[in-house]
């Protein structure tokens, strides 16, 4: 438990992605089995344990501690697991000894409901502070350490010197504590052979169209289709097993039962998960905000199913029946996909239409003016491209519509992390609105990238020289109609939000340009943003 607890402590405080991967990979290399497999499961969210209610933890503590002293402590620390791990005093005669994570998990899994209480007490007595914290996070469910399953897989790839797509392919065929996986990654065994057929196959990704990328390419070699603003999924029905995966290989079947039920074909398809109606049902496609109502849920209720019906807009096909057709050219696969979708449930499946075009200029015009608000650009696919996992440059391109831009006023700044820890590099910006007859700034978003290093120097200097108030790590900067800093903010979309004071939430905002030439009074107004939502950008 000691090494796992130390790993958690470091991960919580490490902001950089690459540093997290290194910490995880080092841990996976050094920790033994089955502990590392359970650690992986805990981080990736695949561990099932008898969970314990916070009240029980509190009760256990108060068996030994004065309630007033506990309250002072909890008020100060703010987190129950952390407080208990710190104030817990093992009986005097008890020698603390480490319990390997694997043993902790197995003991918890074997314990009956009535035994859990004394088991947890017993283990708290044996572990040290960090170990207790890790245990309490495990048994109360949810580590919340800022590491996604995807990142954990990346660390596995790093550990074994493999490609992450190989790990994604295996992932759903394996279970904690992942012994064959670690044997393979440490070079002691061959790649595990899976018995579950409906596994995830790493998806093919596109590269963005960059300056001059299309020059010299013949439009006749490519097919174009709309890039829909939903989430990319893979649906498999092989050997009688049906599964729905996100593009990173996380299984999301539970959240979309209607799709699973409607998948009455054999094969594996690739498409965009959307809500609303299919093209064949002649209903409008729902926005990303609508789709969000259905995301990140383990189960759904009937009302959600009725209000936000989900469907898949097919892009590609990997397996036709039980046959792997990924090596066939896109043109052929597309035909097979069309045949499959024609026969499938019209409420749950439609085909992403191809966009006819003859020149790049023509496609550029179409991209900037798409016929549906739920389109975020076009995809370009070579007609002869096989389906290859990963993001190779050449066969597939994505060409997004231009981002949206507004001019906003810098309001708050916060110091960054790691390399940027001495810079004010996280910015909150706002636009003008009327409130109680006064024209005031209301924050509309936060951005911490988009600027160059030289621009960051300028922003940082502005923040340091124009701080008007401090709130812990945050500084409020001068922002008046005639004094302040205007930035051009680019973003991909806009949603209504009840969590933000302004009522709007931007998607992927970044600072596109510094507008030292503008005064804050020239910045945009909230009404401009509201109008953008009205027109369903």
């Amino acid at each position: 438990m000691k090494t796992f607890a130390e790993l958690l402590d470091r991960l919580v405080l490490t902001p950089q992605r690459n540093a997290k991967i290194r910490l995880l990979a080092d841990y996976f290399r050094e920790a033994g089995d089955p502990s590392r497999g359970y650690a992986l499961a805990a981080i990736a969210g695949t561990l099932t344990l008898n969970t314990v209610k916070p009240q029980l933890i509190r009760d256990l503590l108060l068996e030994r501690m004065d309630e007033v002293l506990f309250r002072y402590s909890y008020d100060y620390v703010g987190d129950l697991a952390e407080t208990v791990s710190l104030v817990w005093e093992p009986p005097q005669q008890r020698v603390t000894a480490d319990i390997p994570l694997g043993e902790v998990v197995e003991r918890l899994q074997m314990a009956g409901r009535s035994e859990v209480r004394s088991l947890v007490r017993d283990m708290l007595d044996q572990l040290d502070t960090s170990g207790r914290f890790a245990l309490l996070k495990l048994v109360t469910g949810g580590l919340r350490i800022g590491v996604s399953a995807r990142l954990a897989k990346q660390a596995l790839a790093e550990m074994g010197g493999k490609d992450v797509s190989e790990i994604e392919t295996l992932w759903h065929g394996l279970a904690p504590p992942y012994l064959p996986l670690f044997l393979w990654l440490s070079g002691e065994a061959d790649m595990p052979v899976l018995t579950t057929p409906a596994v995830f196959h790493a998806v093919m990704l596109a590269t963005p169209v960059g300056e001059g990328d299309l020059e010299g390419l013949d439009p006749a070699d490519f097919a174009a289709e709309w890039k829909w603003d939903g989430i990319r999924v893979q649906l498999a029905n092989i050997g009688g097993v049906r599964r729905l995966y996100s593009r990173s290989g996380d299984e999301i079947s539970g959240a979309f039962p209607e799709i699973l039920e409607a998948a009455a074909f054999t094969g594996v398809i690739d498409g965009e998960l959307l809500v609303g109606g299919t093209a064949r049902s002649n209903q409008a496609t729902g926005t990303f905000a609508d789709l969000q109502q259905r995301l990140n849920r383990k189960t759904v209720n009937r009302k959600l199913l009725e209000d936000y019906p989900a469907f898949i807009r097919g892009y590609d096909i990997l397996f036709s029946g039980e046959r792997d057709i990924r090596a066939e050219p896109f043109k052929e696969r597309r035909q097979a996909l069309g045949t499959l979708i024609d026969a499938a449930s019209p409420q749950h499946f439609d085909l992403s239409p191809l966009v006819p075009f003859s020149t790049w200029e023509e496609l550029d015009r179409l991209r900037s003016n798409p016929p549906d608000p739920v389109i975020e650009g076009v995809m370009l696919k070579r007609l002869d491209s096989p389906y290859v996992a990963g993001r190779a440059k050449g066969p597939w391109f994505k060409w997004k519509r231009e981002p949206f831009n507004i001019d906003a006023v810098l309001m708050y700044a916060q110091r960054g992390h790691g390399k940027r820890s001495s810079y004010y590099s996280d910015f909150t910006f706002g636009v003008w609105t009327e409130s109680d007859g006064q024209t005031v700034l209301v924050p509309v978003g936060k951005a911490y990238f988009g600027f160059t290093d030289a621009e960051l120097e300028i922003l940082d200097r502005f923040v340091r020289d124009n701080t008007v108030e401090r709130f812990g790590p945050v500084r409020a900067v001068r922002a008046e109609p005639d004094a302040g800093f205007v930035v051009e903010v680019a973003f991909e979309g806009l949603n209504r939000s009840t969590r933000h004071k302004s009522g709007v939430a931007m998607r992927f905002p970044r600072i596109a340009r510094l507008r030292a030439d503008k005064l804050p009074r020239d910045a945009d107004r909230l009404e401009t943003l509201q109008a953008m939502i009205e027109t369903k950008i």
Binding site: E6, D9, R10, V12, L13, T14, P15, A19, R22, L23, D26, M65, D66, V68, L69, F70, Y72, S73, Y76, V77, G78, D79, E82, T83, L86, V87, T129, R415, H417, G418, K419, S421, S422, Y423, G472, P473
Partner: protein, 336 residues
């Protein structure tokens, strides 16, 4: 005589009316007795100062020769008479020169702990328990959550991180007086013999510690000199915590923020400050040591000064020891 006629809190600090002196006053006074050299306890501008030789030296280093009107050295353990009152200084184990001050009249003795710790520390003399009627204790870490771990294990984590991230400069925030030198001494004790780089604000105090016999090994200024530009990748650089937020920190290769403080025990504290590697190294007592010290000294009464008074007072009540908070203002109960 009752203890609270001997010593009581006044606006300028803890006051002894019979001897007309203050202990660690927060504003300039006629006569001050100083427990140790941290800025919130040792201020400049008093007419007369009584303190240990090291504390007087440290005040001179920090404030210059004119830091007070006249000064007098208080040798540890010796009885000194101040305006007819008996006082004695005893080691407190907090930083170099730190002392507890015992004040005595008519058979009643009050010991003012100042800041103190019980852990062994090569850079200063260890705390000496003094029997007394009233023990005035600090309570910086006066909550049951605070259990400072073994400082050797904390330093080992820093050395481990250097091996894991050799391309990053490890910038260690540590207070200029006491903590910085202790961290360096601990690193040397564990066999780290690379040069250690320091921020300019630490230079004079490190030099003073070395002259006083603490071996800190090779210390270099963390400055970039001319053509030989280096980015301190894989090196340890020690600076005052405030320097983290400063432009100063920019010269380093992909800095990894380390902070040595008792507060680092609380994860959110570390996270809020952007610390990636918190080292729980404190120059104060943790909860077990505060309560253990009170048990050991077994005073008739406990008064609690700066920090988390309420929890320590509550603990004393549960033990049947009369206790009360003094509510002194002007001390930095976060400074560590």
């Amino acid at each position: 005589m009752t203890p609270d006629t001997l010593l009581y809190p006044a606006p300028k600090g803890l006051y002894c009316e019979m001897g007309d002196f203050y202990i660690d006053p927060v504003q300039p006074v006629e006569r001050a007795l100083i427990t140790h050299g941290h800025a919130d306890h040792a201020r400049a501008g008093h007419a007369h100062v009584l303190a240990t030789r090291e504390t007087l030296d440290i005040m001179r280093i920090r404030y210059g020769d004119g830091f007070c009107g006249t000064s007098q050295i208080a040798p540890l353990g010796e009885t000194i008479t101040v305006n007819g009152m008996t006082v004695r200084f005893h080691p407190a184990g907090h930083v170099l020169g730190s002392a507890q001050i015992a004040v005595e009249a008519d058979g009643t003795r009050i010991v003012v702990s100042g800041d103190y710790k019980r852990r062994p520390d090569r850079t200063c003399r260890g705390f000496e328990p003094v029997p007394c009627d009233v023990f005035i204790t600090e309570a910086t870490f006066g909550l049951p959550v605070f259990h400072h771990p073994d400082d050797r294990a904390e330093i080992a984590r820093l050395l481990m991180s250097l091996r894991q991230f050799p391309e990053r400069a490890h910038i260690v925030g540590a207070y200029a007086l006491g903590k910085a030198q202790r961290v360096i001494a601990l690193l040397r004790q564990q066999g780290y013999d690379e040069p250690i780089h320091i921020h300019g604000a630490l230079a004079k105090l490190c030099e003073y510690y070395q002259n006083e016999g603490t071996d800190l090994g090779e210390i270099r200024p963390a400055t970039l000199v001319g053509e030989g530009r280096q980015d301190f990748a894989g090196a340890i650089v020690i600076g005052p915590p405030s320097a983290f937020a400063d432009r100063w920190a920019r010269r380093f290769a992909d800095p990894l923020a380390v902070f040595a403080s008792g507060w680092m025990l609380i994860r959110q504290r570390a996270k809020q400050r952007g610390v990636e590697l918190p080292l729980v190294i404190s120059d104060h007592c943790d909860w077990a040591e505060l309560t253990g010290t009170i048990r050991e000294i077994a005073p008739a009464e406990v008064w609690v000064t700066h920090g988390r008074e309420e929890a320590l007072v509550r603990w004393c009540e549960l033990q049947g020891i009369p206790a009360r908070p003094l509510h002194l203002v002007g001390y930095d109960d976060e400074g560590e």
